[in-house]
């Protein structure tokens, strides 16, 4: 057997393990989300299946597995079947470029060739030099799963849900890309590993240099993953369940898995790009870089996702479009312009945040001064 074949087998194995762990996290996430939202509403949440409801997701999974899988007469069978698969595959694929850990600290089995072309890492499936582009490209494919699913259902409400989904995801992808561009300009690389290394070397998280980009990215990632308050495609009150009204059993749970895996992916991107990835500053070398840190940070981001879902009501459609096109996009462009100037003038890291915050305050004051005459 050739070396290449072994590498292929190894990569497939690592992908399988990552998928399995993501699915397990998805299961735990559903239970945790229900518990957390319940506690935020003075309730208890699922607590009957096992201690603190720990087996609830497995009970739910078994239930979904044995449920009848309906298909409407109007449905286009092939697209109807393939749509949830597209959603899930896309959201699982995009996790491949996330560097779960920079080094190989606890298990030093696969030392990367220094600066070599085929540098391989234990805790990352594929370290490609256009990782951010790959991720943006793959995540924008996820709209196909939703749109095809909604259209192939042969149901008006599903169709409305998927139309909303396509409009929303395309609108917010712009803000998402723009907000990622600013840190990329500072780092000068499209590889997630370079971005994380950049923060590890300076011991400064990029959120301190790019606060505005972080906020814009977070809001657009909520919209990209169809999370509340941007869950218009699956608005229960208006559309039944939106694009997955006609799905039942395991087909429905594939959509469900896809949504949560996408949440994990954008959360991991947020952590990697803005919060130092798997590294923490101020710790002695072997302990400052571990996948445990990334997972801890990821769950913190998930907590905020759930917290926001428990707090805010859903946006109206016009509000959604307003925020995307008239708030996030201009803010992202402004941020990008300032960052470009800063990179050209070789600002220190704090220069970027000072410039961005200063510009926003300046614009606010200017706006107030120019409107003074109108109101009085």
């Amino acid at each position: 057997m050739s070396w290449d074949f072994l590498l292929l087998v190894e990569t497939i194995l690592r992908a399988l393990i990552t998928c399995a762990l993501l699915q397990l996290s998805f299961a735990m996430m559903t239970r945790w989300e229900r518990r957390l939202i319940a506690h935020m509403q003075w309730r208890v949440g699922p607590n009957r299946a096992g201690p603190a409801g720990i087996f609830q997701p497995f009970a739910d999974g078994l239930k979904l597995l044995f449920k009848e899988q309906l298909m409407p007469d109007n449905a286009r069978p092939f697209l109807f079947l393939i749509a949830p698969v597209i959603s899930l595959v896309v959201s699982l694929t995009s996790f491949a470029v996330i560097p779960v850990q920079l080094g190989n600290f606890p298990f030093p089995v696969n030392t990367p060739a220094e600066g070599g072309e085929h540098a391989r890492y234990l805790f990352q499936i594929g370290d490609i030099n256009v990782g951010v582009l790959f991720l943006l490209g793959i995540t924008s494919l996820s709209v196909y799963g939703i749109v095809l699913g909604g259209w192939a259902s042969g149901n008006k409400y599903s169709l409305i849900g998927s139309i909303r989904a396509s409009a929303q995801m395309i609108s917010y992808e712009l803000a998402l890309g723009l907000s990622l561009l600013s840190p990329l300009l500072m780092v000068g690389s499209l590889s997630f590993r370079d971005i994380a290394n950049f923060q590890a070397q300076d011991a400064v998280w990029l959120v301190l240099a790019q606060p505005l980009a972080c906020v814009v990215f977070f809001i657009s990632s909520l919209a990209e993953t169809n999370r509340a308050p941007f869950d218009l495609p699956e608005a229960e009150q208006e559309l039944g369940a939106g694009f997955h009204t006609e799905y039942s059993g395991m087909r429905f749970s594939l959509f469900f898995m896809a949504e949560y895996t996408a949440m994990f992916t954008v959360g991991a991107v947020l952590v990697t790009v803005f919060f130092g990835g798997s590294t923490v500053p101020l710790l002695p070398p072997p302990f400052n870089d571990s996948f445990v840190w990334l997972i801890a940070k990821l769950w913190c981001v998930m907590f905020v996702f759930i917290w926001i879902r428990a707090t805010f009501p859903r946006f109206r459609y016009d509000q959604l479009m307003n925020i995307g096109w008239r708030v996030l996009l201009p803010l992202g462009m402004l941020n990008l312009a300032i960052t470009a100037v800063g990179v050209a003038l070789r600002f220190p890291w704090w220069g970027f945040s000072v410039a961005i915050v200063g510009t926003v305050v300046l614009l606010y004051v200017a706006g107030k001064l120019s409107r003074r005459g109108e109101h009085h």
């Binding site: 319940a38 935020m40 509403q41 003075w42 309730r43 707090t311």
Partner: protein, 208 residues
């Protein structure tokens, strides 16, 4: 712009409220293990009571059956044997059935009962898998032999304030029929000879 800042502040307020709630203790009661106390006068499942000597209080007068607005009670009365009486009166209930699916838990039967035999106790957890299981017979309703309780009757005494006088005969231990409907007593709207319990009722009667 000011509106934007106000909006952002209110978003933060919303987040802080949910986070505060998260830190507080849930209000949920884990029902089967942990029960909320009910008021003593809660009207739940029926119980038939006994005297101290083990005789049944029910004398088979059919007043409860007559007053029941839902027709939930079915009684067949029988004469007592002289040497082996079942109740203290002339008759006793041979059959005493309560259909919980018909009962509306209004409490008219316990009000009508001249001997405090039937009361609605605090057991409100009433459920069954069949209709038959919710049709209670006399042996289900009777309190076990050797016990002689008054049930919720005790909690109607101390009496409620004067302004909200309930016409509960068991408060006086004397039944004069004034608290039940004429149809229940079966004597039309015949004026009663005995003195009414409540003087105010008499005044109202005079006004008519």
């Amino acid at each position: 712009m000011d509106k934007v800042i106000d909006d952002l502040i209110s978003l933060g307020k919303g987040l802080s409220i949910t986070f505060k709630n998260y830190l507080e203790k849930p209000v949920t009661k884990q029902y089967p293990e942990e029960k909320r106390p009910v008021p003593n006068r809660t009207r739940g499942r029926h119980v038939l009571h006994r005297y101290e000597d083990g005789l049944e209080r029910c004398v088979g007068c059919l007043l409860c059956q007559g007053t029941c607005p839902a027709g939930a009670i079915y009684i067949e009365a029988e004469e007592n044997e002289k040497d082996a009486p079942v109740s203290k009166g002339e008759r006793h209930a041979r059959i005493f059935d309560v259909d919980l699916l018909r009962c509306i838990y209004c409490g008219h039967c316990e009000m009508a009962c001249p001997t405090n035999a039937i009361t609605l106790e605090n057991n409100t957890a009433l459920a069954g898998f069949t209709r038959e299981s919710l049709l209670l017979h006399k042996e289900d309703l009777l309190e076990p032999e050797g016990t002689a309780t008054l049930g919720t009757t005790e909690y109607w005494d101390p009496k409620p304030p004067e302004s909200v006088k309930h016409k509960v005969p068991s408060q006086t231990g004397r039944f004069d029929g004034s608290s039940t409907s004429a149809a229940a007593v079966g004597r039309g709207d015949l004026k009663l000879h005995s003195k009414p319990i409540n003087p105010k009722v008499e005044e109202e009667g005079d006004d008519e």
